[in-house]
Symmetry: C2
Subunit: 166 residues, 2 copies
DNA sequence: TTGTATGCAAAAACTTTGCATCCCA
DNA sequence: TGGGATGCAAAGTTTTTGCATACAA
């Protein structure tokens, strides 16, 4: 991994108010560098040989905080029992195989009647779908506003249209 | 719950080749009757008092098989560590609060620039989104075709456009 | 230096499994 | 009756927590 890329990751960490540690950089970098969608366990096993001092707790904590700050994306479950992570938080579609639990990405979000064609091109047979927006409900916003408890640096709110009409 | 409603659930179970047992009916019915998106644990705790013989394993197994057959929907994680279920498999958007982990439904799927307005009406502030299609990847289809191992009753494939353009 | 982040290990929580029994079709 | 479904309890995974130490800023 070149310096440029590492610098970029460092910038991102700093931009959301996180300290830059070797462990964080390793975890973040590994996730961003892969097209797979690993679990905390998988990342730990991948990194541990090179970074023997790394602990599982750190991996879990780090992934959680990176997702919280919007640097990575938490993918629910892929049908196995564990949480998977996606190093690219850019809005995109995941094609999740209910058989092998693999996850493919589709960056041109296909909508309307176009969906079938695009996804069909990937040879993917759809059984079910799930669309989720993560954020804060009205109640939690109200509670936060009145209690001032969550006055820290919050993550930004997406302001653009998330989906193109075609 | 009236007889009509129960009959409907019974029909659904039979239509996907599942036997009708008191436990299944109770679990299915409880999930369909609520607007919340409970976990296996939550359903167990809700039903156990009325159905003392019910075991946790049955709840986990039943939810898994109902989701497999498309009668209910498995929602990845809501940010807590557990799998949530949605009693309505009709394609719709979930608004998941990263603070309280509550899940709201939005049945008119808002797309394009309409998204912000519709979701804004719900008072929801979006931080991230996730769109997922579940199904079978090309490799698994090929493997199934050649080995004939998964020759049992499969779930149907969605054939209609999943999302309306507006 | 100061508060965050880490490592370690134990604990908690969630989920699956094996097997004998039961019971729906 | 026969194969699927259940209950029970134990085991397996995944994830969180507490606390002392280390370290980035």
């Amino acid at each position: 991994l070149g310096r440029t890329n590492t610098d970029n990751l460092v910038q991102q960490l700093k931009s959301v108010g996180l300290r830059v540690t070797p462990q964080r950089l390793a975890i973040f970098s590994a996730l961003v560098s892969t097209d797979s969608h690993p679990t905390a366990q998988a990342l730990f096993e991948q990194l541990h040989p090179q970074l023997p001092s790394l602990s599982q707790a750190t991996v879990y904590n780090t992934l959680q905080i990176l997702a919280e700050r919007g640097l990575i994306l938490e993918i629910g479950t892929a049908g196995d029992g564990a949480v998977h992570y996606d190093g690219d938080p850019t809005p995109h579609v995941n094609l999740i195989c209910t058989n092998c639990h693999g996850v493919q990405d589709l960056f041109e979000i296909p909508l309307g009647s176009v969906a079938k064609d695009k996804i069909g091109q990937a040879g993917f047979k759809i059984h079910a779908m799930h669309i989720a927006f993560y954020g804060q409900c009205q109640d939690c916003q109200d509670a936060a506003a009145s209690s001032r408890l969550s006055a820290g640096k919050g993550v930004g709110v997406l302001n653009e249209p998330y989906l193109s009409a075609e």
